[in-house]
């Protein structure tokens, strides 16, 4: 058996550890199903095991299914397999430790997003709860109990169901319509020897709209972020072509609707990127990163972009203008939800948001239930 001079390994050791590696990848949310595992096993038993580089490339082709996984794979591979290739006689006493990615130990729960709920403390501050009418007009800073949250979720559910569906190019057969389906009509005419007794028509299928949601999770948005995150998750569970991103000093993806993310998934994503919590908000920088990265593919001319932010930026608004211009050009519609808008008088404009107005199609507050309902109407309007 040919052996790489730098890699004095034992095959059984590596095969044994392949299972552990796949487990690690699953923990890291890779799409490793049985088929992928079998492929990986076949790769490992086909001589690839003798060559670290070949094994890495082979396993990457089998076990990755997206760009994100592709990018993260090498780091995980190097982390996991280093010990196997460098110390073959290791009795795996540290296997359990190795199964944890390097950054795992440094993860800390994000203040304000932890599951241990500070809601109980917040409950003490609730004033005027009980009457829905008053609740619906009260700022979310003051009303935030479980009952109201359930009501908000119900509201979002009903909102999602009422969303208008958009027309698409795919057609479906129909008994009525303006467009004749000649192929199907001919097909049906076969039964009557070629006589067109019944015509078949076509009409376009409608589908759910797609949303891209950008959430400001900086300290200044603490009270609202929690709620907007819930709103976002509900929206994503209804509209699977949607995706969400959070930002403070950095931008990071929360996930796509097709992944059916749970509340826990959101929390994990938030905790993974907790660095910028206290560092102010760099909206312009984050939007720049978005426009040159995720945004290129996430936003199409059919996407409604929803930005949840109070607009407080460490940079001047002028820096944000070119980014907003790009977003508006790419998206079908830009909706900016600013919870602080509720604190201004009617027709009074937030000075820091004033320069951005030309690039915003709908400017909403979303600071209370009534405003959230209005936001729903804005999102449902075509």
């Amino acid at each position: 058996m040919p052996t790489h001079p730098e890699l004095p390994i034992h095959q059984d050791t590596v095969l044994e550890r392949l299972g552990g590696f796949i487990t690690l990848l699953r923990q890291e949310r890779f799409l490793c199903d049985t088929s992928s595992t079998l492929n990986a096993l076949q790769v490992a038993t086909s001589g690839y095991i003798e060559h670290r580089l070949q094994l890495r490339m082979g396993l990457r082709a089998c076990l990755c299914h997206s760009k994100d996984e592709w990018i993260r794979f090498d780091e995980l591979f190097n982390f996991y397999w280093r010990s196997t290739y460098s110390d073959t006689e290791n009795n795996h006493s540290n296997n359990n430790d190795n199964n944890q990615p390097p950054e795992e130990s440094s993860r800390n729960r994000l203040i304000g997003f932890s599951a241990s709920s500070d809601d109980q403390d917040l409950d003490k501050n609730i004033t005027g709860a009980g009457d829905f009418k008053s609740i619906s007009l009260a700022d979310f800073r003051f009303v935030f109990d479980k009952q109201q949250m359930q009501h908000i979720e119900t509201l979002v559910d009903s909102l999602s169901q009422r969303m208008r569906r958009e027309r698409r190019r795919r057609m479906k057969p129909s008994h009525t319509g303006s467009q004749l389906d000649l192929r199907r009509s001919q097909q049906r005419a076969l039964a009557t020897g070629g006589t067109l007794r019944e015509l078949t028509y076509r009409k376009p299928i409608k589908r759910l709209p797609s949303f891209v949601l950008l959430l400001d999770v900086s300290q200044s948005m603490e009270v609202y972020s929690k709620l907007f995150l819930r709103f976002t998750r509900q929206l994503m569970s209804e509209f699977d072509r949607s995706s969400a991103y959070a930002f403070n000093t950095e931008l990071f993806p929360l996930g796509t609707g097709s992944r059916r993310l749970s509340e826990n998934d959101f929390e994990l994503a938030m905790n993974e990127y907790n660095k910028g919590w206290l560092g102010g908000t760099r909206i312009a920088d984050c939007f720049n990163v978005f426009n040159n990265g995720f945004g290129k593919h996430a936003i199409t001319s059919k996407t409604t972009l929803v930005i949840f932010s109070d607009g407080y930026d460490t940079a001047k608004p002028e820096k944000l203008i070119p980014e907003m211009e790009t977003l508006q050009r790419r998206a079908r519609r830009v909706v900016w939800v600013n919870p602080l808008l509720g604190r201004f008088e009617e027709n009074e404009i937030d000075p820091k948001m004033d320069p951005l107005q030309p690039f915003i199609d709908n400017y909403c507050s979303g600071h209370n239930l009534a405003a959230l309902k209005e936001l729903g109407q804005v999102l449902t309007s075509s």
């Binding site: 058996m1 492929n39 490339m57 082709a61 698409r168 070629g194």
Partner: protein, 299 residues
Amino acid sequence: MTDPIDPQVTLRDQLRETGYIADPALVSSLHLMRVLEKPLLIEGEAGVGKTDVAKSLAAIHHAPLLRLQCYEGLDAHHALYDWDYKRQLLAIQLAGKQLSNSNSAELKSAVYSDEYLLQRPLLAAIRSPEPVVLLIDEVDRADEEFEALLLEVLSDFQISVPELGTYTAIHRPLVVLTSNGVREISDALRRRCLYHYVDYPSAAAELNIVKARLPELSQALAHQVVNYVQTLRQSQLRKTPGVAETLDWAAALIGLGINDLTDNSDAIENTLTCLLKTREDRDFVLRTKNNTQNDANSP
């Protein structure tokens, strides 16, 4: 047990002969695609050479390339098969008056036979008596319904035609799917494929590609072209130029008889259309160039 290195070296050389310069990771993925008989999903930005992988594979294997260009609304009748209804009707009407109970069944089986079956790329690939390369191009442009259609084909390499039965591939085709990431592809489809992500090449790799594709280009000009494109890719452009654009640009320079880009900003400006595909990008590059010149001229 065979050493996987040797066949990969051979494959890399074969690809090179067809003019495709592949990095080791891509060669490994293509080798695995053949060994595991699985489709290969290649993702990457536009113009990085995803489609050419399939073309080169077809050239290497001397196999026909069957291409299915995806778009929204693509359905089974355009991807799998369809019946030639007009000819079926003619056949029925010709036989119409002579029909009796005994031969009506024969007529039915006759009109639903191979003669009236219109094979589309997927069925053609499955039924091909010789090995073929099947390119399902820009699969992200198709919709979810089409993805569901692909699942049976890509997992079992078989297609069911209700009137005729199930066709299973005589020779499993080499299937290459490409995606620009316009739309997120379903996990079900991803799971059925090996995966490879093609990034923009490094300067050295791109230089090799340019030399392989355009041997008439001088060494100095090739360096200048590649360096300029590599610099452009660092800029924040709306449409970053890919390898295809680099080759187009180099070919344009050859066509215009330009041998040197040093102090020849007019030549660059006049041929920028080969590299930049939006007005904003062109304005940005020209503005940057002017600013640089002004800075250089200022005391």
